[in-house]
Amino acid sequence: MKDTRPNPDELLARVQAEEAVQTRGKLKIFFGAAPGVGKTYAMLEAARKVAKDGVDVVIGYVERHVRPETYELTLGLDVMPMKSIPYRDAILREFDLEGTLERRPALVVVDELAHTNAPGSTHAKRWQDVEQLLQSGIDVYTTLNVQHLESLNDIVAKITKVQVRETVPDSIFDSAHEVELVDLPPDDLIERLQEGKVYLEDQAARAVQHFFQKGNLYALRELALRRTAERVNAQLESYRREKSITVSWPTGEKLLVCVGPSPLSSRLVRSTRRMAAGLRCPWVAVYVETPAMLKLPDAGRERLHQNLRLAEQLGASTVTLSGNEPVDEIIHYAQENNVTKIIVGKPQQPRWREFFRGSFVYELTRKCGDVDVYVIRGEGEETTSSLPTYPRSLTSAWPYLWAVLVVAMCTGLSWLLDQRLAAVNLVMVYLLGVVIISTWFGRGPSILTSVLGVAAFDFFFVPPRWTFAVEDTQYLFTFAVMLITGLVISTLTTRVKYQIDSSRKREQRTSALYALSRELAVVKALNDVVQSTIQHISSVFHARVVVYLPGPDQRMVPFGIVTESSSTSDRDESVAQWAFEHREMAGLGTGTLPGADALYVPLTASSRNVGVMEVRPEKERYPFDPEQIHLLEAFAGQTAAAVERINLVRNAEHTKVEVETERLRNSLLSAVSHDLRTPLAVIAGASSTLLEGEATIPHQTRHELLQTIVDESDCLNRLVGNLLDTTRLEAGALKLNSEWQSLEELLGVVLNRLHLLLSKHPVKVDLPADLPLVRADGILLQQVLFNLLENAAKYSPVEKVIEIRAAVRDNQLLVSVTDHGIGLAAGEEKRIFEKFHRSEQTGGRPGAGLGLTVCRGIIELHGGEIWAENASGGGARFSFTLPVAPSPEMRLDDELSSERKE
């Protein structure tokens, strides 16, 4: 006997394969305090061990300059070829993510988690590659040094004086399945370094003497050990929580860190993260947008965004507040949101400026109330922006020209008023000019107006005139007051104007969001949703918007018409695809595929992703700020909800149609099964009677039974024919095979076929001799006549005449079949053509109610009409029309015969 059961090994393999698809891969990090401690070696050794157990292990990437002992460990393992990426003049060799995903090993070994990929790669960072591998269910072994951990980055920089740019978010480290600390005492490490056993990157070489000092190594080792211990602690904590203890922030604390454009803010953010981790409490990064921030240079603005992004990456929520008094805004926010501790940086500005502008920290501590304020020391290390800066168009010179013009006009006006007013009062005219300019153009031009105003006043009106010299020293006081007043006015006006502007902008955005949500609430078509979204977002963000929706096989397809100018390249679609699959933003200004020209925002609805929105700023490659991104997310959320709603409605409709079809099918089944079974029952009954009583049945009865069988078979045959026609008509599968047909000829066929049924009815045929041929499908038209005549015979009493008439009216051939039976019930004229309709007048005579439905289908297919009515003399009349085409060309008999004779 053959054993068909799968053997246990097969089963296990199958289960594992299924698991690999369903579950996330496991990440193991080989963690070390410094280069050279032997992480790669330990990793490869572990990989070999696993490979020996039969796991499909692949080397994805290992540093090329490994020591020979380490290199030997890779032998015998499957090594993925590197991907070559041309960059400027060189060819960079990178880990081949796509190749590995295609190869689908069980475990990949990828060295150097913190590595930054070459420009043009799928992801900016290797940890993102690893993340994708894990999401695809592939296990990963990787290595990491303590200085690359985001939250420890600045501490390490302080210890070693080497700024490390390549960092890995702590979340990766914390969520790793396993972290193995590879530890080596500093003395041994230094010894290995001296023996040349440690590979160092070229850039790092210059910092070697700094880095590998014993003191540094001790500190780094301690950091690594402590971070690992922290992780273990967190694991224990979460284990406890899972087991029973309810989730709660043990301290009830909430931290708030004030973030600004300063490079020091990143340190502030990291420190806060460490504090928050220590307290195990949530934290929030806050930025207050003030009028001063409007003038922020692009580099500063970029740094600010980076700081906020960093905070987000480290697990904070970020908030942007706006107002004139940052302190008030922060305190207000802190009190509203139960913040317990505020972290600010130590002031950097000189004391004299504090004297004039007030001290932020002082203000904060004075107003903070219950909230603790932590002031953290900042040092003058300058982290340079890793993102490129974008040129902004120069501020227009027009406002300043206007300022000059207004001063000139004020001078002219003063000149006219000079005789009537005291010189001091002319100052007012100039102040008026300051007010006008500051209202229109803001601070810079209005300051210019103040200064120019003072100068002009001095030059033209203060004696001695036409010089800047001043006779009367009391005018110096006038100048001072005039200047100060001018400056104050310009500051205040600008501030008011800013507030108006920013609240208007906010208002615009809020109302745009409101308008969109209102519009989306009423639209019913997918196209309208997409159009509304595109229209609103384009106008609010000054960007070109394309909405991608999943096509068949879940590929992203741009929805609607894409014009030439905004046609998307393949690469852009792949970014959209990535954003869709990972439910994360990608493209311009994000960590994934930042080389793209547009930002890709996933449309995430409640249950799943419904598409991706491509937002391409009109200004070339100018990334959006976090506030805009938040708003974009809100827009995306609205759109996603609308798209999902429409999808659900569509599904519901689809289901409704299916239910309806199912209902029809059921009624067809019940009608048909009845009509099929009746003749079958008769045939079976009659034939079995004949079979069993072969000898005893009298001849007469035998003949009757046989006749019954034949008649019922005919009946069945007709029923099946009508059923087939109905099905074909409904499926649209009935193709007209049109030829020139003669009605008389078709009628002849039908009358012959029906001669038994019609034998008891006189049939009167009245066809004009010159009846034209019609273009029709002979078989189908014959079926129409057959069904009509069969009906007439069935529903009219014996010996009553059935009349068939035809005539040409208005280019239509009109055919009618009239019987003298019971006729139609009132209101039945239309319904009688419906499927399964059976006249109540028929008194339960058989028939599935399909015959007339078939007639209607066939006539309509021919472009004609069919209808029923009661004839004047009683009985029913069924009439139909067929279009008459111009008669075909015919060669005359004589011509033909003469031709033949030749």
Binding site: S713, G748, G778, P888, D893
Partner: protein, 231 residues
């Protein structure tokens, strides 16, 4: 007693074979049954059947192909069986060389009539000369004098009508496809112009039939052609 005619039945449905055997043996024919085309083609050659009944819907080889293969070496009559709604298949079969057709379901009387006609035409082809006078119902044709009588009254026919009638008479009892008629009456160029046939058949019926709308002699085979009854 004459030697019974041998009929080869090529049909994959067993119940239909059984029914054919029962009815045909009851009427004095010898039956050979096969269930597929390959065996059918082989037996058509080896068993010296006088007539072949061929189902067009065989599972292994297309019915048309079977007709072609048999026609390569034999002109024995072939009657094809097919379902309703497959008129174009029937026409193709007839134009390929089949002699007649039956639409399922069919009665025994129809089947026997077709077989008789087919066998008669086959024997005529083998040498029997045409009778000088052809008579069916109220129609009489004097071939020698080229005269047509209805109820013993001479009827004048146009040349085309006469040729059309003569063609049908030549194949009396058998179906003649539109294409075949057009070719024999109008020549090889007009084989698509079926409206000629409609018009002239109408003329003929009005001259010959008692009730043109209920013909008893010149029958229409819908979608296929015409048949002049011979009994």
């Amino acid at each position: 007693m004459p030697i019974p005619a041998k009929i080869l039945v090529i049909e994959d449905e067993q119940p239909i074979r059984r029914f054919l055997r029962a009815s045909l043996e009851g009427h004095g024919f010898a039956i050979i049954e096969v269930a597929n085309a390959v065996d059918g083609i082989r037996d058509a050659a080896t068993t010296q059947a006088d007539l072949v009944i061929l189902d067009l819907g065989l599972p292994d080889i297309d019915g048309l192909e079977v007709i072609k293969r048999i026609r390569e070496w034999s002109s024995k009559p072939i009657i094809v069986l097919s379902a309703r709604g497959e008129e174009s298949d029937k026409v193709k079969a007839l134009d390929t060389g089949a002699d007649d057709y039956l639409t399922k379901p069919f009665g025994v009387s129809e089947l026997l009539a077709r077989i008789r006609v087919a066998l008669r035409h086959a024997s005529r082809r083998d040498g029997n000369t045409e009778q000088p006078i052809f008579q069916v119902q109220h129609l009489k044709i004097d071939h020698a004098r080229r005269l047509v009588f209805v109820n013993e009254v001479e009827v004048h026919l146009s040349p085309i009508e006469y040729r059309l009638l003569m063609t049908l008479v030549k194949y009396a009892g058998k179906v003649v496809t539109h294409k075949q008629l057009l070719k024999e009456v109008w020549g090889p160029h007009d084989t698509q112009e079926t409206h000629y046939l409609r018009v002239y058949m109408g003329h003929l019926r009005h001259k010959i039939e008692k009730e043109p709308a209920r013909p008893t002699i010149l029958l229409t085979e819908p979608g296929v052609g015409y048949r002049l009854v011979d009994e």
